[in-house]
Symmetry: C2
Subunit: 493 residues, 2 copies
């Protein structure tokens, strides 16, 4: 029984482990947090994939490595990663670093548990409920249901599945073959997860009816009505309307109140994809953008975007309070959700999800909320609007900058027109040439490491920048730098 | 422009933020890691939900709270959470705390990026590829594809969706209505995510054919063949066989090689759910349990279970190398996956997933692998088998303990029969009474905080314990304690 004797000692060195954690944490603070938030450092030390592969020596080998080498590896990983907390990182719908949210994330990682049962996550089961309730209150619901999912895309899929089950409960057992062909309605500007969801759920992307938008990118309710009638005439069953509050590119808000009218008339489930724009609900000044959201049947809202909780934190919220979520998803596994538990089984919420193990995503948001209060979060939201307003005003003053649309939210969409193209709007190749400006400026800023902002074409608009600031550490100086740098990088194009 | 002037200063105090992080980290080490791993501390300070709600004061208010109060809150959250790193935590298929994996998680949280593009996650895009390649090599594939998903359940859903698309690519556009009714095959003992997946994907749980298992809980290939023929006769189209390697309760391995024969004969996609058992592939001694896995079309494997990376870390692996994953899931959003990027777009892998933002789940595994090497991980796997072997041997020596089955993997399933029931196997209420023993012992251990282990009924077997050890910090002393404690807690029942 030599093997049994080997079990006399632990095969993990706790002291060395703690020492490693201490050192790795200090590296993280120094190289990641402190340098990452320092405007004089690079946003990213850009390398081409082949070069980076060489530098990092990623291959996994038979033998282990000494602690010092591993710490160097941590340094390298941080060094060559993008600093999304940098004050000049404007590339994504998330940015910045909130210390309380990060502390919540670190402790979550250390505790390493799963949300499925009260037994295994007593604190977080209760906490998730409180946070979801707060989000529902901001929507305007006194009651309801919900959960945190791994992202807005999956939250949107939950909505589609619950809506399908609500109308055709048989589908869960019998599949789509037993129910009429379904039709989904969403605007042309919606997030691509609606498409991915329709494909994944066996509904099919052809059964999505794309509703037209106005010049601001908002869904036109009259066209929704038209598309619903068209679907009916095509023998499809309209079951799901998705209204986007805060579209990904333009930041447009579909007119939810009017859409709700149409849905009520046709008895269709109304889902609001507020993954991006939901956080405007925190602001007394700006929450009107989501007017009517309380009439939705379900809402997706990602605190990991505007609220800076860190990935992943997406709430799927439901107005239903009858246990629809549970009925729709339950599988009643007796190895996990035992019926003879010694505590109240109602606290075991895991069977209402499509997951089994589910990461704890509520604590980071909760701790940040406790630290700032609702008012502190409101101020951040208002500040983000003010930053966008400031930049939009500056853009109007500067030659060569042109807004794509007046921002209603915090997506700042604009073209930079270099001197060589100014006044040439009439030329046949103007659009073609303008469309090449943003990618070239982007390449230059990446290689320089000075900042990051994204660009994209949209419909018949050629490539334009979409700049987003959610990070409260950003100042006017960073915003001025942003515009100056675009000019510096692009004026010779 | 008072509002614009407010932007002159950052609205985030970096110095205070760093100080908070330092303090929160030290609390985490002290209260979570050090005490959490200490066998003399409680696994969990159990409170009933109502009481815990009182203690924690979870409500979110308008105002923020001072730093000291927030640190107390962190202490409380840790205190009342279950210590899954405790050497007497045997409740879940995950446990323990690997310091390198945790360091990787902390740095991942700090960097807070998303896996979708090379631009935003250069290091992690490359790293994910390397880690997936290593896992595929262990399966026995020279080539292939894959991604990390938020869990084994979602990995299994990926498999089902890719299999469906592979056979009926039209389904993506046209939905299930355009294709024949599909049939899924899986054993009675499979994980419930197969059921959840069939419902979510619009296939329906009635279209799952449950294949019979032998007395060890392994799928019977002859019955699979029978069920396939039955489905065909019922005009269902057999498209997907799920073989489980490491069932959730018994730890049984379906005979993959034989199942692969059946699948080949009928041209059906073979998926192996090795979420639990996949890590046995690291062991030269035990990898035979998965013989034939290289013939699978796809595999789900969760390093967050046996390998201790921490939640969430689930690999979905595909043998296909033709871009099936991409074709199946792509939506070609031009705001994210621009076609005119300055670097090689092949590195932007995000469009092959059903997600948009996707958490970085590879770094924790990679760093742990670099620290231990493949051999170090192999030793851990072998140790877990040895611990189970030790306990099974002890159980045979002890009166009142009875194995449910001889463990093949590291699920140790057994009954504890208290003295009052010994020799009463013939009594009519024996099973009824025995079924109440495990829940009562569980309640007692929870309230005492001495350890945690799960129990469940299975088929016609009444409640039995399922004990699992993956944590290398566990010693023989902990294992002896485990059996002694069961006796102490249960002998009067
Ligand atoms: C409007 C909208 N909905 C949904 C999503 C998807 O959210 P996630 O990235 O968390 O999946 C996004 C992401 O940008 C979005 O902009
Ligand atoms: C065999 C098996 N497959 C899949 C899963 C699901 O994995 P996850 O919890 O990561 O969703 C489990 C979870 O216990 C499992 O045991």
């Amino acid at each position: 029984m030599a093997e049994h004797n080997a079990l006399l000692c632990p095969a993990l060195d706790k002291v060395a482990g703690e020492e490693f954690l201490q050192k790795a944490f200090q590296i993280m603070l120094e190289e990641g947090v402190r340098k990452g938030m320092d405007a004089s450092e690079k946003v990213c030390d850009w390398k081409e994939p082949e070069e980076l592969q060489q530098i990092l020596d990623l291959d996994l080998k038979d033998g282990g490595e000494p602690q010092e080498r591993l710490l160097d590896r941590c340094r390298d990983v941080i060094r060559y990663s993008v600093k999304t907390c940098h004050p000049r990182f404007f590339n994504q719908l998330f940015s910045g670093l909130d210390p309380h949210a990060l502390a919540g994330r670190l402790i979550t990682e250390m505790l390493n548990t799963s949300q499925y049962t009260y037994e295994i996550a007593p604190v977080f089961v209760l906490m998730e409920e409180v946070v979801l309730k707060k989000l529902r209150e901001l929507i305007g619901w006194e009651e309801g249901d919900g959960l945190f999912s791994p992202g807005g895309s999956i939250s949107n899929m939950y909505a589609m599945n619950v809506a399908r089950y609500h109308r055709f409960p048989d589908c869960k057992q019998k599949g789509n073959w037993a129910i009429p062909k379904l039709a989904v309605f969403t605007s042309q500007e919606c997030h691509y997860s609606i498409q991915k969801g329709a494909a994944f759920l066996g509904i099919g992307t052809d059964n999505i009816y794309l509703v037209a938008v106005d010049e601001k990118g908002k869904m036109i309710p009259a066209d929704l009505e038209k598309k619903i009638n068209q679907a009916k005439s095509e023998r499809a069953f309209p079951f799901f309307v998705n209204a986007t509050c805060g579209t990904t590119v333009l930041g447009a808000f579909d007119p939810v109140a009017e859409i709700a009218e149409v849905c009520a008339r046709h008895k269709i489930w109304l889902h609001v994809d507020a993954a991006w724009g939901g956080s405007a609900l925190l602001s007394q000044r700006h929450r009107h953008l989501l007017n009517g959201v309380e009439r939705a049947d379900s809402v997706a809202w990602n605190p990991h975007k505007m609220l800076m909780t860190g990935l992943q934190c997406s709430a799927f919220l439901l107005r239903d309070n009858s246990g629809l979520l549970q009925r729709c998803h339950c599988a009643e596994a007796t190895y996990l959700f035992q019926t003879d538990k010694f505590y109240n089984r109602a606290y075991d919420r895991g069977d209402q999800t499509i997951q089994c193990g589910r990461k704890v995503d509520c604590f980071k948001l909760w701790l940040m909320w406790k630290a700032n209060g609702t008012r502190g979060l409101e101020q951040r939201v208002d500040r983000a609007f003010a930053m966008t307003r400031y930049l939009a005003d500056e853009i109007k003053k500067r030659e060569g900058f042109q807004l794509v649309i007046e921002p209603e939210f915090i997506n700042l969409c604009f073209w930079y027109v270099p001197p060589s193209l100014r006044g040439k709007e009439g030329c046949t190749d103007y659009c073609l040439r303008l469309g090449k400006v943003a990618p070239m400026i982007k390449e230059r800023m990446m290689k320089k490491g000075s900042m990051m902002v994204s660009y994209q074409p949209l419909g018949n608009r050629v490539n334009f920048f979409r700049q987003v600031v959610t990070n409260p550490a950003v100042t006017r100086e960073d915003l001025d730098f942003f515009l100056d740098e675009i000019e510096r990088l692009g004026r010779d194009l």
